[in-house]
Symmetry: C2
Subunit: 384 residues, 2 copies
């Protein structure tokens, strides 16, 4: 029986994590849930799973207190309490399904308290991968990836020596705008950008998939998660999203992990590892996918990917700055302040204005993140 | 340093095994070689690798003695001496690269003497898989597959529990006659059948690839190697021969092993396992294979596959009988005695005439093999 905390239970990953827990009540026990502002869904989840704690970081806590009055659930308010539930002594695994930079501090707290991490918050590693993975090693904590690509790499590495890895391929669907020119992308609307061909995800990550920034963030994440050099990471476009990623070993052998696009699978494995639990999720059938295709990403058109890979190579605070600027730019696009192609411009300009810092500590990262957001916002203001 | 014996060093697998040993002289030491009748190549190999023993089972031993007179190499003659070199105390791994049924007895001898087996002789498991795998378990012997498909499954299972396997897919190129009708196959010549699209192999296995019997033999081999039920084994046609096989786990996740068709890779892994050794074999590049395709095998046209899968389900002595009849039929086809489509007919008729035996011992297998060959030869005589 594993005791589980979910940070961010009302988002896409959080909801699917609860689905997985529901399927295996004999294996997993939910200890605590958190949500930012979607209190109605949080209340519903709390009533169904009866955790010991719920945290609301920025929502109507009074409503939660009223609705859950009859339950034996402790109700906590505020961002700092994410760290409270991430460090409870009875907890085995913390699922970090928060969106964006907010995931970093509670994840570090969980690691310092020896909790295994089911990592769905990629910003944690993008921003501070070196510190986070070092602390995980020091605390003998496993970081179990929930992203389908990183779970694929993780699965391909089971039973293998890390030193036997020659390179990895992260696969990318290419998003809804694959094959388009910069001209085509000039007047893309957010509605178009939010239509991902294969995956149903939150809005931020769906836009990141459309710009290919998501793949750049994943490359940086993979670098830290698997201890790779930047030149060991390659990106390949695979529109069907069936092969979730691949590892090439020093003997030339390649292992791939495949399956229907279904986030419940990597979520379940992150929770059950090293065991695999049976389930009745739909199975892949070759007859539905008689062709799997591959192409090179077009980094001339999808400049966010090139920018991200360059930030990975430079390292230091650059991925942190890039991530902050991208977050601001994506939300500006989602609120119709800027165009689709502006996202890359804003990220690039923010990076150009940032001071390079080789080995920041956590406080410096927080400061770089804050400053980069400010810079990006100023650039957006000037544009509009 | 691993001490290695190669049974069948002048065939395709034997030669490539020597290539791998040559690349890693610091890791592998060749103790003994054997050949049936290709003494010229055997002499050349012996001069290059200076093993302690060579065995000629059916060739010009005098010539070998004369040519190797100056070397400190013990020269042995006759089939029984395969067991002599397979059981030498200093040997760690025996590579069984003999063609056909002849591999069984020396493989069993090696297992009884605690040698790990790099298994390239699939008939060993097809005929007597239950006995061979039981003896391997009793003697704590690893059977390391050399076939690319079984090596693929083996690699996908590294770090996984056997109980986590839901099913496996063995991939098949489909051979040179994929997509043809029975009518098209009526007047196929051996020259056409010997042109395999992707793999360069010996004649027997190349014909088996053209009839798809090879995939049936591999299914039976996989059954024993990985402890599967027949219904857990599926065959999928994949003409590019890049994905070498796949495992689907109980959680729905699929792992595939891929790479360019190059037998040196599975050979090297069988010798180096659990380590992977670096090499400079050509690497797979997605840009050379922008499409990987999949289709169902046509068992109406390629009846050998249906016959083999049925023999697998029935078990007992049926795979042994089928294998013997197929060996006779393939050699009859190669010597222009019968047509391509006759192969399946002869195998089926031989099976129909055989008595079913549920759990044969080794002597019974030898007897079934002998009788099946006789029956198949009689059927061929009647046809011609």
């Amino acid at each position: 029986m594993k005791n589980i905390v979910i940070l961010g239970s009302t988002g896409s990953i959080g909801r699917q994590t609860l689905e997985v827990i529901d399927l295996h009540r004999d294996k997993f026990k939910l200890i605590a849930l958190s949500a930012r502002s979607n209190v109605d869904l949080l209340i519903e989840q709390a009533k169904k799973f009866r955790p010991q704690y719920v945290v609301i970081t920025n929502g109507n806590t009074d409503k939660v207190r009223k609705e859950l009055a009859g339950e034996k659930i402790e109700i906590l308010e505020g961002y700092d309490h994410l760290s409270t539930i991430a460090s409870l002594p009875q907890v085995d695994i913390v699922v970090t399904a928060l969106v964006g930079f907010a995931g970093l501090i509670p994840t570090l707290t969980a690691i310092e308290h020896g909790k295994d991490i089911a990592l769905a918050n990629k910003e944690t590693l993008v921003v501070a991968g070196e510190i986070v993975t070092r602390k995980a090693a020091e605390n003998n904590v496993k970081i179990l990836p929930v992203d389908s690509e990183h779970s694929a790499i993780f699965q391909c590495l089971m039973g293998e020596e890390n030193s036997a890895v020659e390179k990895i391929y992260l696969t990318a669907s290419g998003g809804p705008f694959r094959g388009m020119s910069r001209n085509d992308l000039q007047h893309i609307t957010k509605e178009q950008a939010l239509k991902h061909p294969n995956w149903s995800m939150g809005n931020k990550i769906t836009i990141d998939s459309a710009t290919l920034m998501n793949k750049g963030l994943e490359a940086i994440e993979a670098r830290w998660l698997f201890g790779l050099r930047p030149e060991q990471i390659d990106i390949i476009i695979h529109p069907q999203s069936i092969i979730h990623s691949l590892v090439q070993f020093v003997d030339g052998s390649i292992k791939a992990q495949m399956g229907l696009p279904d986030m419940r699978l990597p979520i379940q494995l992150a929770l059950s590892y090293p065991e695999r639990l049976p389930n009745d999720f739909p199975r892949f059938n070759f007859m539905d996918y008689p062709q799997l295709t591959f192409e090179k990403p077009d980094t001339q058109v999808f400049r966010c990917l090139a920018i991200a890979l360059e930030a990975m190579r430079k390292g230091g605070n650059y991925p942190c700055v890039m991530n902050a600027a991208n977050e601001i730019a994506v939300y500006a696009f989602l609120s119709d302040q800027i165009g689709f192609l502006d996202i890359a411009d804003i990220v690039e300009e923010t990076l150009n204005k940032a001071e390079y810092i080789q080995s920041p500590d956590i406080d410096t990262y927080l400061e770089c993140d804050r400053k980069a957001r400010e810079t990006a916002e100023q650039i957006i203001l000037k544009k509009s």
